[in-house]
C-alpha cells in the first residue's frame, strides 16, 4: 500500500470519526451521590488513634471527641460547666452516704448501635478495668519492652482511676441487669464525675472477642462472671482485648469494634487525615442530631486550618491561639469568631524548702520574715499588665484568674471562693512596687535573689518573665532567669529554682484533682508547701460529697494559701474558635470535649 493511500485512509477515518461525534457519545453515568443528607466538616489538630479512651494512652482529646459523639452518657457539661442530665441514657443516684453507695440505672432507650441494650456489664467493665483490683501483674510488657499480650493467667488493664480504685467490692447488679450499685470503701468527693459517663467500650463486644461468646446477653453474663469469680484465665484475655483491640488509626476490618451507644457511629477513618461519623440508625436517645454526617479533618497547622475554614473545606476550627491567627479570622467576612477562656491556667508557685529567699531556713527559721519576702515578691508580679499585654489581644474579655482551684466558668463556685480567698483584695492587678518595698523593709531583707524557672521554648512565658523581672527588680529583687526546656523534669529539683511559672490544665470540674497540688507531700506540691490547717481541710474535702460544703472548704483552703503566700494565679489560657456562618449552634467550653459539647444541637444551612 502506498503512503498516499494510507493517508487517504487515515483522512477518511478521521472524517468519519468527526461525523460520528454527531451521534451523542455516552455521557458519564449520572450516579449522583445519593447522600443528599446534610454533612459538615470540622477541624481538629490531632488524629484519632484509640476508640478506648479509658486506657492510659488512649486518654487524649483527639480520641475523646469522636468517642463523645459516638457514645451517650448520663450527664454532660453544658455551656456554664453545669452538669446536665440525659435521662434518655440513664440516671445515677447516691443511695447512701456512709458507706457511699451510687446506683446507676440505664434507661430502656440506652442501646448499642448493634441493637444490644446497654447494661450493668458495660458499667462493670469500665469500673473493673480502671479499679486496678483485678491486675495480677504490673504491666503487659515483656523484658524487651515490646507490647506483649498477657499470657496464661496474667491480668493487666492499662487503665487507672483513683476514684474507681476506691470501689473494692463487686457491685450489686439488679435482676433485670439494667442497674448496678457501686459501694465505695471510702467516701469519694468526685463520685458524680465518675457516674456521668458510666459505660466505656461495649462489654459484649469485648467478651465476644475475648471469650468467643457470640450471643450478646450471654457475652455480658460471661464478662460479669469472669470479674465476679476472678477467673484470671478469662480476665487475661479480656484485658488483652481491652488494652489492644480498640487501638486503630484507620477503619478496622471488624465493624464490631466501632459499636457505640451514641447519636453517631464512626464509619470511616483515614489515617492522619479524617474521621467520619454518620447518624446511628439504632439510636433511641434524645440527643438526635440534625446533621447526617460529621467529618473531623486533621489539620495540625493552625494557619492551614484557618485557610481551610475560609475555603469552606471545614466549617469549624479551634486553632492554637496567636494574635495573627485571631486577626486573620476576624478579617474574614463569613466567619464568626469566639474568643474565650480555655481549660489551662497560668500561675506562679514559690518554693518553701530549698534554702532560698522564700524558705524560713534562710532567715534562721524566721517564718514571718520569709512570709514577708514571699508576699513582697507576689506583690510585684504584674498580673494585670500580663493579661493586658499578652492575653487581651487574643481574648478581649480576658480577666485575672483569682482562684487556685475553680475555673471561672464554674461561676457559682468561683464567685464564692474568690470572695473568700482575698487574692484580689491583697494583690489586685499586681505591680505593687511600693507595697513590696515596704514588706521587704519590714522583713529587713535587702536585694534578695529569686531564680525563676519556666519553659524556655515558650515565647509567651518568655514575655511574661520579662514583665515579671522588670517589676520585681524595681522593688529591689534580683531576678534570675533559670528557664529550661526541661523545666517539667526540673520542677522536682527545687534546689535549682525559687519560683516557677507554668500552667495546670483542668480535666473536670471535680475537686479531687487539686488536692495533690496543696497537701503536704502531694505529688504536684513541688514547692514543698506544708500547712496543718490546709491538710486537715483537704482531708475533709476528700470525703465530702456535699457540693455546698466542698465550696466552703475550698474557700478556706484558698484563704490559707493566699495568707501563706503559696503563690499566685494569673490568667486562663485563651481559646479562639472560628465558625462558618453556615453552621448554627456551635459554641465551646473550656473542658474536653470543647466545641463538640453540644454537637447534636448543630444546624447547617
Amino acid at each position: 500500500m502506498s503512503n498516499r493511500k494510507l493517508i487517504a485512509a487515515a483522512g477518511i477515518a478521521l472524517t468519519s470519526a468527526l461525523a460520528l461525534t454527531a451521534c451523542t457519545p455516552p455521557t458519564p453515568g449520572a450516579n449522583s451521590s445519593a447522600n443528599a443528607a446534610t454533612s459538615i466538616n470540622v477541624s481538629w489538630n490531632q488524629a484519632f488513634y484509640s476508640y478506648n479512651n479509658n486506657t492510659d494512652y488512649g486518654n487524649a482529646v483527639a480520641n475523646t471527641n469522636p468517642v463523645y459523639m459516638s457514645n451517650d452518657r448520663i450527664a454532660y457539661y453544658d455551656k456554664d460547666l453545669k452538669i446536665a442530665q440525659n435521662p434518655s441514657f440513664g440516671k445515677y443516684e447516691k443511695v447512701s452516704d456512709s458507706p457511699l453507695k451510687v446506683k446507676i440505672t440505664f434507661a430502656d432507650t440506652a442501646t448499642w448501635s448493634d441493637g444490644t441494650p446497654v447494661t450493668a456489664a458495660d458499667a462493670i467493665l469500665k469500673w473493673a478495668s480502671a479499679s486496678g483490683n483485678y491486675n495480677t501483674t504490673k504491666s503487659e510488657q515483656d523484658d524487651d519492652g515490646n507490647v506483649a499480650a498477657n499470657t496464661g493467667n496474667d491480668v493487666f488493664f492499662n487503665s487507672s482511676d483513683p476514684g474507681f480504685a476506691l470501689i473494692k467490692d463487686f457491685p450489686e447488679v439488679s435482676a433485670d441487669g439494667k442497674s448496678v450499685t457501686f459501694t465505695y470503701s471510702a467516701p469519694f468527693v468526685d463520685w458524680e464525675i465518675l457516674a456521668m459517663d458510666p459505660a466505656g467500650v461495649p462489654a459484649h463486644v469485648v467478651a465476644k472477642r475475648a471469650l468467643g461468646t457470640t450471643d450478646p446477653a450471654a457475652a455480658n453474663q460471661a464478662l460479669i462472671d469472669a470479674f465476679k469469680n476472678k477467673d484470671n484465665a478469662a480476665l487475661s484475655k479480656i484485658s488483652n482485648v481491652y488494652n489492644n483491640d480498640f487501638n486503630f488509626k484507620k477503619t478496622p476490618a471488624d465493624k464490631e469494634l466501632l459499636v457505640g451507644s451514641g447519636p453517631y457511629t464512626i464509619t470511616d477513618i483515614a489515617e492522619e487525615q479524617y474521621l467520619t461519623l454518620e447518624k446511628n440508625p439504632n439510636y433511641k436517645g434524645s440527643h438526635v442530631p440534625s446533621i447526617g454526617k460529621v467529618t473531623i479533618r486533621i489539620t495540625p497547622d493552625p494557619q492551614a486550618s484557618v485557610q481551610a475554614l475560609q475555603n469552606g473545606e471545614v466549617l469549624v476550627t479551634q486553632p492554637q491561639a496567636t494574635a495573627d491567627i485571631l486577626k486573620q479570622l476576624q478579617g474574614m467576612s463569613n466567619i464568626n469568631v469566639l474568643t474565650q477562656n480555655g481549660g489551662t491556667y497560668e500561675h506562679v508557685d514559690l518554693v518553701f524548702k530549698n534554702g532560698g529567699p522564700f524558705d524560713p531556713a534562710k532567715y534562721g527559721g524566721d517564718a514571718a520574715k520569709a512570709l514577708k519576702v514571699r508576699q513582697a515578691f507576689l506583690q510585684t508580679i504584674p498580673r494585670q499588665k500580663i493579661v493586658d499585654n499578652i492575653i487581651k489581644p487574643l481574648n478581649p474579655t480576658a480577666e485575672l484568674r483569682n482562684s487556685f482551684t475553680r475555673v471561672p466558668e464554674d461561676k457559682a463556685a468561683y464567685a464564692a471562693v474568690t470572695a473568700a480567698n482575698g487574692i484580689q483584695a491583697t494583690y489586685g492587678g499586681g505591680s505593687n512596687i511600693d507595697k513590696a518595698k515596704a514588706l521587704l523593709a519590714e522583713a529587713g531583707v535587702t536585694n534578695p535573689t529569686v531564680r525563676v524557672m519556666y519553659a524556655q521554648n515558650n515565647t509567651r512565658r518568655q514575655q511574661e518573665f520579662q514583665l515579671m523581672q522588670e517589676s520585681a527588680q524595681a522593688a529591689g529583687f534580683t531576678v534570675q532567669d533559670v528557664s529550661s526546656k526541661d523545666w517539667g523534669q526540673l520542677l522536682k529539683k527545687t534546689e535549682t529554682y525559687d519560683a516557677s511559672l507554668f500552667g495546670w490544665q483542668s480535666q473536670s470540674t471535680g475537686v479531687s484533682e487539686s488536692i495533690a497540688n496543696y497537701e503536704t507531700g502531694g505529688q504536684n506540691n513541688y514547692g514543698k508547701y506544708s500547712d496543718p490547717q490546709v491538710d486537715k481541710l483537704l482531708d475533709e474535702l476528700k470525703v465530702t460529697t456535699d457540693t455546698a460544703r466542698q465550696t466552703e472548704i475550698l474557700a478556706s483552703v484558698e484563704k490559707q494559701l493566699a495568707d501563706d503566700a503559696f503563690g499566685i494565679t494569673i490568667f486562663q489560657f485563651p481559646e479562639v474558635t472560628g465558625i462558618s456562618k453556615k453552621v448554627q449552634g456551635v459554641s465551646s467550653i473550656p473542658l474536653s470535649p470543647n466545641y463538640f459539647w453540644n454537637f447534636w444541637e448543630w444546624k447547617v444551612s
Binding site: L6, G29, K138, G145, Q523
Partner: protein, 508 residues
Amino acid sequence: MARFLARRLGLAVGILLVLSFAMYGLLDIALDPLADLRENPAPNREEMIANRVRLLNLDLPWYQRYFLWLSHFVRGDFGLAWKTMQPVGAIVQSAVATSIQLIFAATIISILTGVTIGLISALRQYTTFDYVITFISFLLYSLPVFWVAVLLKQFFAIGANDYIANPSINWVAVLIASVVSGLFWAGALGGRRRKKLIVFASAFGLTLVLLAALLLSGWVSHPQIGLVGIVIGSLAAALAVTALFAGMNNRRALYSALTAAAVGAISWWPLQWLFVLVPMNWGWMIGLLALAMVICAGIGWLYGGPDRNVSMRGAMFVGLFSSVLVFLDRVLQTWPEYYNTSEINGRPIATLGAQTPGLNADFWMAQLDRATHLMLPTIALVLISFATYTRYERGAMLEVLNQDYIRTARAKGLSERVVIVRHALRNALMPLASVVPVDFITLIGGAVITETIFSWAGMGRLFIDSMTNQEVDPVMFYIMLTGALAMIANLVADFLYAVIDPRIRVNA
C-alpha cells in the same frame, strides 16, 4: 562488578550502623518520653510514669536500649509508636505511599520544565531571556515554602474558587498574560529583530485569543477538552515532535506522527463506550497505554524507510500525548457532577489533605479529586525545585556546546536542529543521571513543611509528629530508611553513569 557491589553494600551497612548509634544517642538527649506526664496533675501520675518507664525500658541506659532496638530492628520488628500504641511497621506504609503520591508529579514536572528551560536558556546565553530566567529561578529558589503555600492557598484556592463560582473577566490580567507569553516565546525562539517581532505578535495574539475564548465561553466554570481539543492537541503534537526530532523534510516521520494523531483522535469515540461500560482502574489505564504504544510503534514501522526508528519513536510520542489527552478529557467530563456534590459544594480546589472525605466517586472522579488536592502542593514544590534543574541543565548544555565535536558537527554542515537535538542534548543530559536518582529517592523521605501545611500525612509529617510525641522508634525508622535509600540512590547513580558513559567502568 560483584566485588564492587559487595564492597559498596558492606560500606553502606557499616555507615548505617554508625549512623543509627549516633542518632539513637542524640535522640535520647533530645526526646523526653515522660514530658506529658510531668505536667499531668492526675493523682495516679507516679503509676503512669512507672508504666511508661517499663514500657520503654527507660530504666536502662541508652546504649543498652539501642542494642535492644537494633536486635529487634534487624529481625524486622521496627518498634512501637508508643503514644498511639501503633507498630511502626503499620504506620509507615501509608505514610510512604502518601509521600510518593505527593512528590512524584512535582518531581517529574520540575525535571521536565527545569531541563527544558535550562536548555533554552543555554542556547540563548547572555540574552535578556537568559538573564530573566536566571533571575526568576534564583528568586523562586530563595522563596520559603511555607510562605509560598499560604499565598497559593489564598489566590489559587480561595480566590480561584470564588472566581469559578462567580466569574468576571479581568481584561487587564488577560492582556498582561498575553504580553508575557509573547515576550517568552520571542525570547525563547530568538533570532533577528524581525523574527522576534513576528514571534511576539503571533504568540501574543494566540494567547489573547485562546484566553478570551476560554473565558468568554465559560470554560473556567466547566472545563473540558472534548474531541475538538484532542484533535487539535494531537495534530499540534505531531507537528512539534516531527519538527524537533526528525525534521519536516522526513516525510515518513511526519506522516506516521500525523497518522498516530488521527488514530488517537478516532479511538476517542469507542473508548467513551468502553469507559462507560467497564469500570476502570489503573490496571486498565496502563494496559490501554501499552496498547496505544504498540499501535503507534506499528504505524511507524509500517511507514518503513531507512530511518524506521525515528518514525516509530515520533509516533509513540504522539500516541503518548493523545492518550494523556483522552484520559484528561474523560476525567474532566466528571467536573459538573464533582462540582455539585454536597462534599465539594462549589469549592473544587482544596487546600487540605489528599482527598475529599466521604466523596462517592468512581475512578474518574477520584482522579479529578486527587488532581484538585495535588494542584497547590505540586505548584509549591515545582516552583521551588525547578530552579535547581534549570541551573544544572544550563551549565551542562553550555559545557557540551563548547566541545570540539559540536564544532565538527557544525562544520560538517549539519542543520542547527540536528546539532542541538542529536549531538548536544544527549550528552547534556548525562550529568542528570547522578542527580535524578537521588531526587527520586528523597521522595520517600517526604517534604516536611509542605506536608504539614497542606495536611498530607506523609513521611515528613510522621517524622515531625514522632519528634513532638517524643517517640524514638518511628524517628529511628525514618532515619534508617532515608539513610539506606540515600546510599542506594548513590549506588544507582554510579551504575547509571557507567551504563550511559562508556568512559566509566564500575569495577575500575
